[in-house]
Symmetry: C2
Subunit: 356 residues, 2 copies
């Protein structure tokens, strides 16, 4: 196999710290399997604003385009929160998704046995929860026309939410494929009783799902889904939804697992190029202290192997190593019951590498 | 005091059943306080579609406009789910909100002591939860221009989300007033890192909140709010947000209380006219069986007394009666631990009337 190129974007806050541990895992993979990765770092997010005057510098984008996969830490922080739009880290994130054509965001929400107690939900409700939110990532109200105008009622702001059939088709087809490899249940979430985009969404889902007779389909309204996630999380398998609803529901789903420091995500397009990042944010409050949990980022590497490199085996090695380390009782502060026994970021990375 | 006129819209499913119990409470109020209400029933929702060919007949709208308050059961059901837009119950709901200028939806999410166990959240997390979602109800993507057009990528659907300063001002001012009478904490929810309407929202909130120095203000992004509701529900007092986010978050908040059959809501405008309805839906699966829980609708009457009639005392009488009946151990099936001991809709109404 040819050498895989991995673009590494540490980003802001705890981003560089957790990514450093993921890089140890990349190295260990090279040793274990006798492969070689070509890794290259680039500036992205707040740090890129500070050093280059833009959250997504041209050279970063070029690097990512030429890579086989992108590993991202996290971006953002209070320092840039009041900047104008072009100088905000999030703008870089939206830009990279759009420029790389990453229309699909895959966010597994799973329960780690040892962390069941960390959830605010009752363990008996969580039991068996293992779902994936497939979120459309390059359309909808995120990318529609936005503007302001003056009216007799003061300024008016406008956002436009648009979806065309092709955009819906490709994400739904992907969700069907994901469901087919799992428990074969697809929940499509929309607000078809109010939104025209949702009505087109639902029609398209019905049309595409007809090609997947083995996948059971249900339509749930977004407000109801926000409730059902709390009431019967284990009943969901794959949830597919549009960009804004997916943003909200995937975070709700992540939080209810109680394992937000442990959840990985993948953003995919038509080809094999993918962007992999932890679900958690840049946590500026604990940045630089060496206490952040690197597991979500390390598990993002496992997702990268599986989804971009089609390399199940190496992904499993990482996932099993994480499991072993947790089963042995090692915890970072965010998931430790007894905080005084918590290990730091770097130690957790080392433990996982050892266990690989 | 002049005679108050109350328009009564039973609607669909369990709507007429629960409203009938609320009417017993109205009668009992007349007896207790020597007042008289003028009540009038009208068709609304699916039943209006069936009988009049429209979910919101002109005479229903006129009745509501001339009333001091509107009491609504619930609308909707599978029978009308595949109808074209003009023939859907929800269209009537959106119409009545807009036509009556009910720009503010107030949804308290409280924990009933005896129902703490009904929540899927751990009791220690729920402890002390008592929040109100103030949702903007006549603007945003619900009411913006919607259309389809043909593109090279198939049909495209478009929804428009718009807010002007006046719309944001009035709802934020109302939320500040509500907060001022409570724990003086306001959480404004938006997606200011992505949406132009949210940026206008946030600017306007900051401007209006300056008039309420005694109210503590925080801004939370909608995805984060969906998480924080699960993690620290008791830390919220008043949440104010736009229409679509409010739809999702108020349902999430309602569900986490575990008391969805018990939650009342009010929709208000500039004057004292308000529309009162239970948070739960029309529950077609149990309609006509006499088992529905009428408490949310009965508590909606209490809200009506307080918010539209400025009649705290009579509202308290109802709320205390409900508390007494629950404390005595009476339960409808939805909230009963031992379903075989559950009382029916009508019996629950009678018990509450007796306790008043
Ligand atoms: C930072 C923000 C723009 C982003 C989004 O809303 O997509 C984030 O919340 C996410 O989910 O990745
Ligand atoms: C029925 C529907 C149009 C409505 C809404 O979305 O506003 C409902 O969900 C609600 O919250 O009252």
């Amino acid at each position: 196999a040819e050498t895989k190129r991995i673009a590494i974007l540490g980003g802001d806050g705890i981003g560089p710290e957790v990514v450093a541990e993921a890089e140890k895992v990349l190295k260990k993979t090279e040793e274990l399997f006798g492969v070689q990765f070509e890794t290259e770092h680039a500036l992205f997010g707040g740090v890129a604003i500070d050093q280059k005057g833009t959250p997504l510098p041209e050279e970063t984008l070029e690097l990512c385009k030429s890579a086989d996969a992108v590993l991202l830490g996290a971006v953002g922080g209070p320092k840039w929160d009041n900047n104008p739009k072009e100088l905000r880290p999030e703008t870089g994130l939206l830009g990279i998704r759009k420029q790389l054509g990453l229309f699909s965001n895959i966010r597994p929400a799973v329960i780690f046995d040892c962390l069941k107690e960390a959830s605010t939900l009752k363990p008996e409700v969580l039991e068996g929860t293992d779902l994936i939110v497939v979120r459309e990532l390059t359309g909808g109200i995120y990318f529609g026309e936005k503007f302001r105008r003056d009216t007799e009622n003061g300024q008016e702001a406008v956002d436009t939410c648009a979806y065309n059939e092709k955009e819906v088709e490709r994400i739904v087809r992907q969700a069907c494929e994901v469901a087919r490899k799992r428990r074969k249940k697809l929940t499509s979430v929309d607000k078809a009783n109010v939104l025209e985009t949702s009505r087109l969404w639902r029609e398209t889902v019905n049309r595409i799902a007809a090609d997947y007779q083995d996948v059971e389909l249900e339509h749930v309204l977004v407000d109801n889904c926000a409730m059902q996630l709390l009431r019967r999380p284990a009943s969901f398998d794959v949830i597919v939804t549009e960009n804004m609803f997916g943003d909200i529901l995937s975070d709700e789903a992540a939080m209810l697992t109680g394992s937000i420091g442990m959840l990985a995500s993948a953003s995919l397009g038509e080809g094999s190029l993918g962007l992999y990042e932890p679900v958690h944010g840049s946590a500026p409050d604990i940045a630089g202290q060496g206490v952040a949990n690197p597991i979500a980022t390390i598990l993002s590497v496992a997702l990268m192997y599986k989804l971009s490199f089609n390399w199940q085996e190496a992904g499993d090695v990482i996932e099993n190593a994480v499991k072993k380390v947790l089963d042995a009782g090692h915890r970072t502060a965010d998931i430790a019951v007894d905080k005084s026994k918590a290990v730091g970021t770097s130690k957790m990375g080392d433990l996982i590498v050892e266990a690989m």
